[in-house]
Assembly symmetry: C2
Homo-oligomer: 362 residues x 2
């Protein structure tokens, strides 16, 4: 290798570094292939490999076997300087459940001398990606994450793998991405789903519909509970009356133009299991404006036991979601993982049923 | 135990048998608990246990630890008399893909001296249940099944377990229920999803929407392929423009009343990946009646490469679905499992891309 080649190698390294500095190549981005760089800079592939090798050694790039070379998170394998800051990423904040989770987390972290960086994803994987990158850049010691679209393949898989490689602990709440072995805290959603369905069945309901969320872990699990309850009682599933919605189409279901579709789909059932109190409240309003009353005309059960379940003319039978407990437990696990042991912990809360008067005895 | 108790035990056995005979207790149904039977017949639990024990020994009932006692499939552990009949259960038949699958199966089975029992589920787990029960009652040597709602928890789990216990081989096509180790034949749907997205990206599309099926294995996988293609090219996912539909709401999406919703959700993208040619054709009609043309205004790619993809004014870029091959392979595996080895086989077909003219170069 002559001097000329040496300087070319330096130029390429500099070019990559500058592209990272001005965010042309963002964290987690794939850089162009060796062939592409070789032809663009009119240098040999070996020279390209040398430049990349140096940047990998410096921890600026990261090679992933068979997939390519990516911009790495800044910092060493294991950051020496602890920031005493925990990244907390949740899907929503304005909802009724989340403020309590955050309060629970905050209480325990403050006691432990930690502060909290908060990110909201609106259940969008691309927002989750931004949160993860920004928090890694500004520096956090650990993550508490409510994953986005946890029932779907994970858009941010590689980022979570990189975080793991850096030995930064993560606790998932309300669900977890399958195929990982991270800590998580969940409600026993299958059992919760079974419990609300049992209430309906015990009251003589044989035709049960549902309004479930298909992109979140909890939606699939709560539906699984319905299946269990039906099977146990030798009842069958009414597919037409099981309505699945996603984060993005929720608003359309209740804006009015789809009333005829929903009424049509629920026309065969005497009761409906709703994914949460928010859906239940929206559905009850929809039924009301179409002349149907709960529980006289149709029974409704739900999850979360929020203030919504107690502000109607009747009160909603619902499953208690121990939001503050979940938050506290998540923070406790994180502190333990930072200070004591890295062993993943899996916590499953038992559901508690609140029977009120949204179910009619048939 | 006195004579009186003995006759009571016989009465209970008879009562259960008669209830099974007249279909009050159907195959797979749970019979009442020991306590319930004891109090109903005013006999001791021990007598109940004896009656049930006899019926379990006769293979009429089956005990499942911790869950209860169920009506068993008729027949011994392993049926001695082979029927030379294979149960084939598919979700649809009128669709463009299925006739070819069935032809492929039929060809191989006939050559092997087997006949076929055909059941159609319309992607309803309760219909799948009926098919499985009826075929087990009439007797089949093996099953080829396209599972219903394969992305959701399996409603017929216990039936499949009972079939397995009887050493009746099952091959799943197009997907499989997770958590089993049965034979399956699938298309590499992740790769297929990546390939169609690659076509869009190579043509300059950065904002890509989707119309995916959320209750089937293939829908989730094809979406995963989109994620991979986007990641690889440092592009992001447009959640608002990813529309998820289920078996039951498909018809509502294209009846007209939801046009404004779909147009609104796709307003930010220059292209859409459709779950299959049927969805693509429906979407293209919807766009057309709202003054939007493919590919001038919006590009569309799809899966199945059916006759639908070749009957428009333009022709649709789509992935070949090797339907007949899938059918033949399924039948070959079944014959092999019946005659040679019970080892589960997992076959993954490579996708083949047909580039036509539904994608505009940007």
């Amino acid at each position: 290798m002559n001097n000329n080649e040496l300087s070319k190698h330096a130029v390429l390294s500099l070019w990559i570094k500058e592209n990272i500095a001005d965010n042309t190549f963002k964290i987690g981005d794939k850089i162009p292939s060796e062939n592409e760089l070789a032809s663009r800079f009119m240098i040999s592939r070996q020279t390209v490999r040398q430049a990349i090798g140096t940047l990998v050694a410096e921890g600026i790039l990261i090679r992933e076997h068979g997939r390519g070379t990516y911009v790495n998170f800044p910092g060493k394998k294991e950051p020496a300087d602890k920031t005493k800051r925990i990244g907390v990423i949740t899907t929503y904040l304005d909802d009724y459940v989340f403020p309590s989770i955050i309060h629970g987390i905050e209480e325990v972290l403050t006691d432990g001398g930690y502060t909290m960086s908060l990110g909201i994803t609106h259940n969008k994987p691309s927002d989750e990606e931004n949160c993860l990158i920004q928090m890694m850049q500004s520096g956090v010691d650990a993550f508490i994450v409510e994953g986005t679209k946890s029932a779907l393949p994970n858009f941010n898989k590689r980022l979570y793998e990189q975080i793991k490689e850096k030995n930064i602990p993560t606790v998932f709440i309300n669900g977890y991405y399958t195929g990982y072995n991270d800590s998580y805290i969940i409600l026993d959603d299958v059992k919760a789903g079974e419990m609300v369905a049992d209430v309906l069945i015990q009251n003589g309901h044989k035709y049960i519909g549902g309004f479930y969320k298909s992109d979140d872990f909890q939606g699939i699990r709560r539906y699984e509970g319905l299946l269990k309850a039906l099977k146990k009682n030798n009842l069958t599933i009414n597919d037409t009356s099981i309505i699945w919605y996603t984060t993005e189409d929720y608003k359309y279901y209740f804006e009015g133009t789809m009333d005829h579709i929903i009424l049509n789909r629920l026309s065969e059932v005497t009761s409906v299991v709703c994914y949460n109190d928010l859906v239940a409240a929206s559905l009850i309003r929809l039924l009301k404006r179409n002349g149907k009353n709960v529980p006289e005309d149709i029974s409704v059960v739900s999850f979360d036991d929020s203030f919504l379940s107690k502000q109607m003319v009747f009160n909603l039978t619902s499953i208690v979601y121990p939001a503050k407990k979940v938050g506290k437990k998540a923070a406790q696990i994180i502190l333990q993982q930072l200070n004591v042991s890295k062993k993943p912990e899996h916590v499953v809360f038992e559901p508690i049923l609140k029977i009120r008067d949204s179910v009619k005895k048939l």
